[in-house]
Symmetry: C2
Subunit: 210 residues, 2 copies
Amino acid sequence: MDLRLYAVTDRSYLDGIDLIDAVEQAVRGGITIIQLREKEISSREFYELALRVKKVTRRKNIPLIINDRVDIALAVDADGVHIGQEDLPAEVVRRLIGPGKILGVSAGTVEEAIKAQKDGADYLGVGAAYPTPTKPESCAIGIEGIKKIKEAIGIPVVAIGGITRENAYEVMLKTGVDGISSVSAVFAGDVEENSRQLLESINKAIADRS
Amino acid sequence: MDLRLYAVTDRSYLDGIDLIDAVEQAVRGGITIIQLREKEISSREFYELALRVKKVTRRKNIPLIINDRVDIALAVDADGVHIGQEDLPAEVVRRLIGPGKILGVSAGTVEEAIKAQKDGADYLGVGAAYPTPTKPESCAIGIEGIKKIKEAIGIPVVAIGGITRENAYEVMLKTGVDGISSVSAVFAGDVEENSRQLLESINKAIADRS
Ligand code: NI
């Protein structure tokens, strides 16, 4: 599982472009894994969208992860599920998806991270690295917080929250995480170019770390 | 499967009472099956609510059906899933839940009903019997429409849409369906008394039909 550049979809950033086109551009730009996150559509629409995205990701062997909806992940035979603390409990999701599928869990504290690891997570999404509109200052655990969690657990970690083309290198370098995750840094603007530059920064940080 | 009085939850009707209390009252009043429908809560809240409702329904062997969310149904080991035309396709749901769980499908036309039966539905919710605020005149297939669908298929049918204590007898008598389904006729007001009177009307219609 290559978590270096973990794209998360959000159609509100896509002004005008079709989600499938955007995913194709992101794949061309070098994303290594993608999470489909949809909150406002019907189960049928989510299912049909996921089937369409899977056609794109399967061609390039990019793992497709479904946010929250275990049923959608099973229905389209996605590669995995990502859950937050408001979703089904991790141990229940692991039981539903079996040992073969990827389980990702969002964690904001060392305690949540250790519990998620114990409950069967394959990787963690940890943050926020920086404050964002939806996660104010008080929720951002920062570079230090992410580093602490990464050091406390054995499974891979993806840094999330407020990551941009400008700070991706620093986050990778200073936290030791396995990758960075973003919605806007990938999907706002030129998706292929964003992805290419992000991956370049990430690879440079990995090289500079060792 | 006893479909005579099929209660569907809706917290907007419960003014003030706890959903679990309301379900307990409905069970005491004689509902024969219940569907939990939740659209506005997180997956975790839905899961925890379903677990609590299941404790009540299992004591009286009332089947617990989950609306739309196959993952929640599997997570709590509910008795089944009910889907509409906007949810996952019936044949996909049947594959996910296996042969042992109940699959209900909403159908508004003979065509949809026949397809649902073919795709593995165990029963159908058919209507609307009468216009409702969310289903205007144009969507109500009426007594005649429900009767036509009931006659076209072999699996049990529950009539839905605009059913009240006043018209439940007539719907049962004239359509030949196996039961009636309602949110408000059960949950608006005195839940136990509503359920008792509805079941009485339904039983009287069944007796008068034969
Ligand atoms: Ni929703």
